[in-house]
């Protein structure tokens, strides 16, 4: 064991810092740091900058153009990028679909789709959940019926994050109703410009348009868009979910959020003194920092244990639980740090171009919305209760 960075790791950290200092546009990092809304253009700009530098897919296998970053390198990049105010990269194509295509896709699918994920031609979204299939994902009903060289898709997907920006969607569809529900599922790639695909917004409790319903009415998809074998989609779906969870600890985001909280706590006053000096507040914050320091190491240990390129095991469910709960507790403490000024919420003030005076401190407006928005994290990607089921079954044999 050695917690020191090697010379290579130090050099890498320096390289990343330099890249961020030179290439991260200040207007984008400014928005991230002040919690303003990012536009589609912002995401695409940052995506392109990362791609040009070779950082976008650095965690991909070398044979697919990646650099095969290890857990330490991923941690360094994650922490540095978040500290600098870099936006989160939209993960659906890059971190979810891509590993599935690398492992199970045809050569044609790999050579067609992987470059288009990188160059931003295709913005992917995820068609997993349905109104009747949440935690019980395998009960999904959306049907795909083979008709000559095509499949005909009918049904509805929901909670489709940023589906309003996407032009492709990967879907779990039902191709058979025989046997166990898991046995009749297939994994399908769908061009959203195909007739019969309709995206309808869902407005979240804090008022933002982040997720959608996607409706499919007699949507005809070429048979070559089936990934792997028919009725084997559940295997691919689970493989994807493990990859989805591999960045889920959110260490860099948590560290940046704690810095933000501390700044607020230094400015907010309680009984005439900075809130940061309040014993009870300081204790709550210290507990979070203790848990986070441990989780950063847990994250690197679990990721490192998964050999290069191999998906991490069920241990990653522990990271999902710990990572989401920890970040929710930071959101919660930030909200409470504001006192009454957590209440005012002017949605327009989150957009660039809003010129009116802020109500209360300028950092207050997005905080409660952020808190409510982040309740999603212990629900999505397999709810934390599902994660506990996975740990029970796969790690403990219960």
């Amino acid at each position: 064991m050695d917690l020191n960075y090697t010379h290579e790791e130090q050099a890498f950290q320096l390289e990343v810092r330099q890249f961020l200092a030179e290439k991260l546009p200040p207007e984008i990092s400014g928005k991230v740091k002040s919690k303003k809304r990012l536009t589609k253009q912002d995401s695409e700009t940052w995506h392109a900058i990362l791609n040009a530098a070779g950082y976008l897919n650095a965690h991909w296998l070398v044979e697919f153009g990646g650099r095969g970053w290890n857990a330490i390198q991923r941690d360094i990049f994650d922490v540095e990028a978040n500290a600098a105010g870099a936006p989160r990269v939209v993960p659906f194509g890059l971190n979810m679909l891509a590993p599935v295509l690398m492992a199970f896709g045809s050569q044609e699918q790999q050579s067609y789709h992987l470059p288009r994920i990188l160059d931003g031609t295709n913005w992917w979204c995820q068609g997993y959940s349905e109104p009747g299939a949440g935690s019980d994902l395998a009960s999904l009903k959306m049907s795909a019926v083979r008709d000559g060289d095509e499949y005909v898709l009918n049904g509805q997907k929901t909670w489709t994050t940023l589906g309003q920006h996407a032009n492709w969607i990967f879907c779990l569809v039902r191709t058979s109703r025989e046997g166990k529900p898991q046995q009749g599922i297939s994994f399908m790639l769908v061009d959203m410009d195909t007739p019969g695909v309709e995206v309808r917004p869902i407005i979240l409790l804090e008022g933002t348009h982040e997720v959608n319903e996607v409706w499919f009415t007699d949507v005809r998809v070429p048979a070559e868009n089936l990934v792997g074998e028919e009725n084997k989609g559940w295997t691919y779906a689970k493989y994807l979910l493990v990859h989805e969870r591999s960045g889920i600890a959110g260490v860099g985001d948590a560290l940046a959020s704690i810095e933000h909280l501390k700044q607020i706590a230094r400015e907010q006053k309680k009984d005439g003194k900075p809130l940061a000096e309040d014993a009870l507040f300081a204790a709550r914050l210290a507990e979070i920092e203790i848990d986070l320091a441990a989780m950063r190491t847990t994250n690197m240990r679990i990721m490192q244990a998964a050999s290069d390129g191999a998906p991490p095991g069920p241990e990653v469910s522990m990271l999902k639980i710990k990572g989401t709960v920890l970040r929710q507790s930071i959101n919660d403490l930030t909200r409470r740090a504001l006192g009454p000024y957590a209440m005012p919420f002017v949605s327009e003030a989150l957009d660039i171009g809003y010129n009116e005076e802020p109500i209360g401190p300028d950092y207050a407006n997005p905080v409660a919305a952020d808190y409510f928005n982040h309740r999603k994290t212990s629900i999505y990607g397999g709810s934390n209760e599902i994660q506990r089921n996975i740990i029970s079954k796969l790690m403990m044999g219960l």
Binding site: M1, D2, L3, N4, Y5, T6, E9, Q10, Q13, I72, V79, E80, A83, L255, I258, E259, K262, A279, A282, A283, A286, E287, E289, I290, D291, A293, A294, M295, R296, T297, T298, M300, R301, I302, Q304, A305, E315, S317, M318, I321, K322, E385, Q387, R388, N389, I391, S392, M395, M396, G397, L398
Partner: protein, 380 residues
């Protein structure tokens, strides 16, 4: 960064683990604890011969280890067997000698298993403070005369020599003016009251009344022992936390086993989701403790030592206690019996919260220390 053990350290861990598994079952442990000495001298000699005491001290002092990871690896395995032999006491007192660079002949005897030490620092009123020392050492001829009371001295009843802290200058809570002395346990004026602890170990209240010691019994520099004391405290915190993790591992393993075999309502109770989810949380917290232990072990010699020790000890107090309580709860009535082992593991984990500062003590110390730098690499 590298999260795997070196081959040598893995061998050390395996060796201690094998000893516990093959020769130190819970009955043996209880028998050792119940014996007159409160431990087995035969086992102590055997472990000394295996080099286990030497592993706790650096090569510069005649040992062959002494890093944070050597200490954590040894004590984690000892914790898995609830080993009552006086490793902790000798780590503490031995660390004071090793760090001061004085009394190396005594340390040699300790590593050979021929001399037992204990660390008499805490006092009836000091709680977890390191600088609250009321015991005084007055100049007396060419030496010193010691007067005062030492509290809950672990293994203090069987030690041949005591490392005693006493004030040579300054007020009761001053960090300056504290000195350490190496004192024969049978010196005139020393009264040792031995007693068992709730978790099966031995400790002592030690009264010093006009104890005369020569000048060369001083450990390190007169009046400047606080740095040594802090170093001892860090090593002790690391050791008992590793011990707690070893005990937690066994507790979780036993509980998991029980969930798979105990039947109620016609099924193994592990089929109940109410228990599964709590067990999953215990697994997660256990990994958090393991990570905090790695962070602390890797920083034993760094300038971030105190932050990581406090983070670890807070987590042992907070998450460790919760795991210990859940191990008892999920077992049900059987865990309440003395005969069944899981309760003894739980007792050890909870009592470790009372050594070197509890959960609250370390939370407050974290607040005083401020945050570690978010993006700085740890240095070992």
């Amino acid at each position: 960064m590298d999260f795997s053990h070196t081959e040598e350290r893995q061998m050390l861990a395996d060796m201690v683990g094998r000893f516990v598994r093959d020769e130190y079952d819970i009955e043996t442990r209880h028998a050792n604890a119940r014996s007159d000495d409160g431990f087995s001298r035969a086992h102590w000699s055997q472990l000394a011969e295996l080099g286990l005491i030497g592993a706790l001290f650096p090569e510069s002092c005649g040992g062959f280890g002494g890093t944070g990871f050597d200490i954590s690896v040894v004590f984690e395995q000892l914790g898995g067997g609830l080993v009552v032999e006086p490793f902790l006491a000798n780590l503490l007192a031995g660390t004071a000698l090793a760090a001061s660079g004085t009394h190396s002949d005594v340390l040699d005897e300790v590593m050979a298993g021929n001399c037992l030490l204990a660390y008499a620092h805490g006092e009836p009123a000091s709680r977890y403070s390191l600088s609250q020392v009321e015991t005084v050492a007055q100049k007396s001829g060419s030496g010193y005369r010691l007067n005062g009371n030492k509290a809950v001295v672990i293994s203090g009843d069987t030690a041949n020599k005591l490392v005693v802290s006493a004030r040579t200058a300054g007020g009761n809570d001053a960090t300056d003016g504290i000195s350490l002395f190496l004192v024969p346990a049978d010196a005139d004026g020393i009264h040792i009251r031995s007693y068992p602890t709730i978790d099966g170990y031995r400790a002592a209240e030690i009264a010093l009344k006009d104890v005369e010691v020569p000048a060369d019994s001083l450990i390190g520099v007169e009046g400047q022992a606080i740095a040594l004391i802090e170093q001892v405290n860090a090593a002790g915190t690391l050791a008992v936390s590793a011990e707690a993790l070893g005990a937690i591992d066994v507790g979780i393993e036993m509980t998991l086993d029980y969930l798979k075999t105990r039947k109620q309502f016609g099924v193994p109770i592990g089929k109940f989701q109410a228990l599964q989810h709590r067990m999953a949380d215990m697994m997660t917290e256990r990994e958090q403790i393991r990570s905090a232990l790695i962070n602390a072990a890797g920083n034993l010699q760094s300038d971030q030592r105190d932050w990581h020790m406090s983070a670890l000890k807070n987590l042992i107090g907070r998450a460790g206690r919760s795991i210990a309580e859940e191990c008892i709860q999920m077992h049900g009535g059987i865990a309440m019996t003395f005969e069944y082992a899981v309760g003894h593991y739980a007792k050890r984990v909870v009592m470790i919260d009372h050594m070197f500062g509890d959960e609250d003590h370390h939370l407050q110390r974290i607040i005083k220390l401020g945050a570690i730098a978010a993006t700085a690499a740890a240095t070992a």
